[in-house]
């Protein structure tokens, strides 16, 4: 899928090792992850002169100067009758179980360290969601007690 800017996840998350949540800051706070605000990109890149003349960065600054949002194409979408909650998943797997953040995000988004722009690699169908929710996992990093994801219809279909 061609995006307005071919954002290199491989450079940011892979080569530079930046935590996913540094840019995707809303994912742990809200049901929707949102797209990082343009301000976020500029905050760093105004101080990175080495790549300032690269075509992608030039394009980024064009959007910034025009104060226009970047019209990203939506890759990971769910029907309106499904309510997926990013916050719950990150709380459980990252903050409680202490799993590496790139693995937590990869559960649904695939390995972003090896890609430029996002590609849908998981089916995101209900059966696929349920296949995970049926498995037991540890409650948190230290406990031996296990639980599984909720299987009530109303958790996702509100």
């Amino acid at each position: 899928m061609e995006q307005p800017i071919e954002f290199p996840h491989d450079v940011h998350a892979g080569k530079m090792g930046i935590n996913c949540m540094f840019c995707h800051t809303y994912a742990r706070r809200s049901a929707v992850a949102g797209i990082p605000p343009l301000e976020k990109c500029i905050g760093c890149h105004q101080n990175i002169d080495s790549v300032r003349d690269k075509p992608r960065i030039k394009k980024l600054f064009e959007y910034w100067e025009a104060k226009r949002p970047i019209p990203w194409k939506k890759i990971h979408d769910l029907p309106d009758f499904v309510r997926f909650n990013h916050e719950r998943h990150i709380q459980r797997f990252y903050f409680q179980q202490n799993q590496p953040v790139e693995e937590v995000c990869a559960l649904c988004h695939g390995d972003m360290k090896s890609k430029t722009v996002a590609v849908r690699v998981k089916p995101l169908t209900m059966g696929w969601c349920v296949s995970c929710h049926e498995q037991d996992h540890r409650v948190n990093a230290t406990s031996t007690a296990t639980t599984n994801g909720p299987n009530d219809c109303s958790y996702c279909h509100k």
Binding site: E39, K73, L124
Partner: protein
């Protein structure tokens, strides 16, 4: 087979059908179909997916409840009541909820339209503003401005503008406003909008005041009504009696509903007053002149003229004696007659006789900003506007917040008269009937895009000024707020006075800051105060003095006319009832309100004629038969709906439908009963007597199926597929009253 239990079989079936469903539907949206735009520079508190609430004021009716609008990703999604509003107290009604459909309405105008070669063509704002300046320059008294109800800074600016043109012709028109009520209240209580303490009353006697549905401040009264119906602290559960020709929502909630003959409400009230003052406990409550006048209202006259039975009269009287304090309310169905003011006076007199004044009827606090108080709206203003048009006195005419071509009765010939004016400007959101006749149509911002201040006519506590602020960015570039347009025009007329403000927002902000000292808990810092104002949405006036009402029964005209003779040609009285959602037709283009079943009939998306089942049986009319309702001034055709909540000589048609324009949802739905009203006016105020039209009803050959929610089988009224919803007991089988 026996090995498989029923439970396991269902499990098997369930799993296989789920698999089919998953395989069958590609439910995950395709990638790249939608875009997802990020913020450029968001506020720190903004998190996508998490709503932020902004305080504002609901403008769906004149009650003025405070609201908080939920905004997410820059879009307003839903409105909630604001707990800081003394009127709504955190609650809202369905009418208010539907306000977002005005904002997102697909039929909203997006650019100014100018009449060229007979049709409305797009034009620019620059052109429109220069045209306004040119046409009003020397207009003077040839200029007239008809507006809907107004209050706050918008009203002040608009009146200053009319004045700056050298014109006195500002008409404030509201088809549903009860000017009669305000005039009589002023006379008797000394205040036009007294406060009513429904929660403190032990008995309410309402003459058509639909305080739970459409009267004055329904959300506030509904809250009080909850308290009224609770038995606590020695107060028994309140008893509600409603006397009206057509059952309103309040009537439907009453313990006793009295189908009174239209226009005879005053006689009933005075009959009760006369019976009360015969007793020593009440003899001294009224002056001798009033006592003398009451002699003419003996029981025989009451029974004969009102249609109220001796038993009902006696029971009402017994309850009035027993339950104190009580509250007696006068509503539109009592006031919409030639002698409407006398009816209202007779009804309000009961409050004096019963000693309710000062207990359940009190004075509101003083308003330190009288110029911002709501304009005195009514229907007499329409008549004055129409006369000026008919005589050719008005050449440049502006209309805002009203749709007179739709709502004016047919006899006024307003459409023809409106055409006589040389230059007609309509400020509106839609191409409604009036806009279709205009020379220049100016599209306005929605209520969720503009700034404003409001003061509600009914103030339950100390005076509150309400702020209206945009809940989101404007949807369309080509719309403007009325405040901005008027300020632009005022800047042209009085540059020295108004040149300092770049826009209406700046004007409003500086005006509020200037008057800061009048408000409770105002911050010392100006910016802090403004921030406070917007985050709370309401400003409490600090020094609102409480006044005492000194009731005045002396000046009342209590000589009510006897019941008019029957008219053979027009045997029925027409009640143009107020539809809870559509009101005077201004909300007919909101699908949510069209499809909300009308509370008493459950009919949707249409008009209907309510007729009493006994009358219908006599005339051979069944539900869905198309009836032709004819007055001396026209006729309308609509489906019959058999409704027992009517005085049998009355037919009712709800207002609000019958639009010829105003977009896809309103146009061509139902009929407009206002069109067939007779030219009858209340004699002391000149208001249109809305309930005084006589009609003839004829059955036509056509018949339709009434689209409604309640029992759909023929004759299945109040049942669901012929099963009773709730088991009921006839009223005469219940002992409601203590045996004497």
């Amino acid at each position: 087979m026996n090995d498989i239990s029923r439970r396991n079989l269902l499990k098997l079936l369930g799993w296989s059908s789920a698999t089919v469903a998953l395989a069958g539907c590609g439910q995950v949206p395709e990638t790249g179909v939608e875009t997802v735009e990020s913020y450029v520079q968001p506020e720190e508190f903004v998190v996508p997916g998490v709503g932020v609430y902004y305080a504002s004021t609901c403008t769906q009716c004149e009650a003025g409840c405070g609201i908080k609008g939920r905004v997410r990703e820059g879009r307003v999604l839903k409105l909630e009541g604001s707990p800081e509003s003394a009127i709504g107290k955190g609650k809202m009604c369905g009418l208010g909820q539907a306000a977002v459909q005005h904002h997102y309405n697909p039929d909203r105008l997006r650019e100014p339209l100018l009449r060229q070669n007979g049709s409305l063509q797009p034009t620019s704002w620059e052109n429109a503003i220069s045209l306004l300046g040119e046409k009003t320059r020397d207009a003077g008294d040839k200029f007239a401005f008809l507006t809907g109800p107004l209050s706050g800074h918008g009203k002040v600016l608009l009146q200053n503008y009319v004045e700056s043109l050298g014109s006195k012709n500002h008409f404030v028109y509201d088809p549903l406003a009860s000017k009669v009520n305000r005039a009589v209240s002023e006379k008797i209580y000394g205040v036009a909008n007294p406060r009513f303490h429904i929660d403190k009353a032990q008995l309410i006697l309402s003459f058509g005041a639909d305080f739970l549905g459409t009267w004055q401040s329904p959300v506030h009264f509904s809250g009080q009504y909850g308290e009224f119906r609770k038995a606590n602290e020695g107060k028994p559960r309140g008893v509600l009696i409603v006397a009206e020709p057509k059952m309103t929502l309040t009537g439907a909630n009453a313990d006793r509903w009295i189908p009174i003959r239209p226009g005879s409400e005053g006689v009933f009230a005075l009959g009760l007053a006369a019976a009360l003052i015969d007793e020593p406990a009440y003899a001294k409550t009224v002056p001798a002149s009033v006592a003398e006048a009451l002699r003419g209202y003996g029981k025989e006259r009451v029974f004969k003229e009102t249609g109220v039975s001796e038993e009902v009269f006696g029971r009402t009287l017994a309850l009035l004696r027993e339950r104190k304090p009580s509250l007696v309310l006068s509503g539109p169905s009592a006031e919409g007659h030639v002698h409407g003011a006398q009816n209202a006076a007779a009804i309000m007199l009961l409050n004096i006789v019963l000693g309710n004044v000062g207990k359940t009827v009190t004075a509101p606090g003083d308003n330190p900003f009288p110029q911002m108080a709501p304009a005195d709206a009514g229907t007499a203003a329409l008549a004055a506007f129409n006369d000026g048009l008919a005589q050719g006195r008005f050449q440049t005419v502006f209309v805002y917040g009203a749709n007179p071509v739709y709502s004016a009765p047919g006899f006024t010939k307003l459409r023809d008269n409106f055409r006589k004016a040389a230059f007609k400007v309509v400020f509106t959101h839609y191409r409604d009937e009036t806009a279709e006749e205009a020379d220049l149509v100016l599209p306005l911002d929605s209520a969720m895009e503009e700034w404003g201040t409001h003061i509600a006519g009914y103030q339950p506590e100390s005076l509150q000024i309400q702020m209206q602020q945009p809940l989101m960015e404007k949807l369309y570039e080509g719309t403007r707020s009325l405040g901005d347009i008027v300020l632009t025009l005022l800047k042209q007329a009085r540059p020295q006075e108004y040149g300092q403000w770049p826009d209406y927002y700046a004007y409003l902000k500086s005006a509020m800051i200037k008057n800061k000292s009048a408000f409770k808990d105002a911050a010392a810092d100006d910016e802090e105060f403004w921030y406070q104002t917007l985050s709370h949405g309401v400003l409490n006036v600090a020094s609102a003095k409480e006044r005492r009402i000194a009731p005045n029964a002396e000046a009342l005209d209590l000589h009510l006319p006897s019941a008019p003779a029957e008219d053979q040609a027009y045997p029925f009285r027409l009640v143009p009832s107020v539809h809870s959602g559509l009101r005077d037709g201004r909300h007919a283009n909101l699908p949510w309100l069209q499809e909300t079943p009308e509370p008493l009939t459950t009919v949707v998306w249409d008009s209907w004629v309510e007729i009493h089942p006994q009358t219908a049986q006599r005339m051979g009319i069944g539900e869905g038969d198309i009836l032709e309702v004819t007055s001396e001034n026209g006729s309308v055709r609509a489906q019959a709906y058999l409704f027992p909540g009517l005085q049998p000589d009355t037919v009712a048609i709800p207002m609000g439908q019958g639009h010829e324009a105003m977009g896809r949802y309103a146009k061509g739905v139902g009929v407009n009963p206002l069109k067939i009203l007779n030219p009858v006016f209340e004699k002391s105020t000149g208001e249109l007597a809305m309930y005084a039209t006589r009609v003839h009803v004829a059955k036509t050959a056509d018949s339709v199926t009434v689209v409604k929610d309640e029992g759909w089988r023929p004759g299945a009224v109040n049942t669901q597929s012929n099963r009773k919803i709730v088991v009921t007991l006839a009223a005469d089988k219940v002992k409601l009253f203590r045996e004497e």
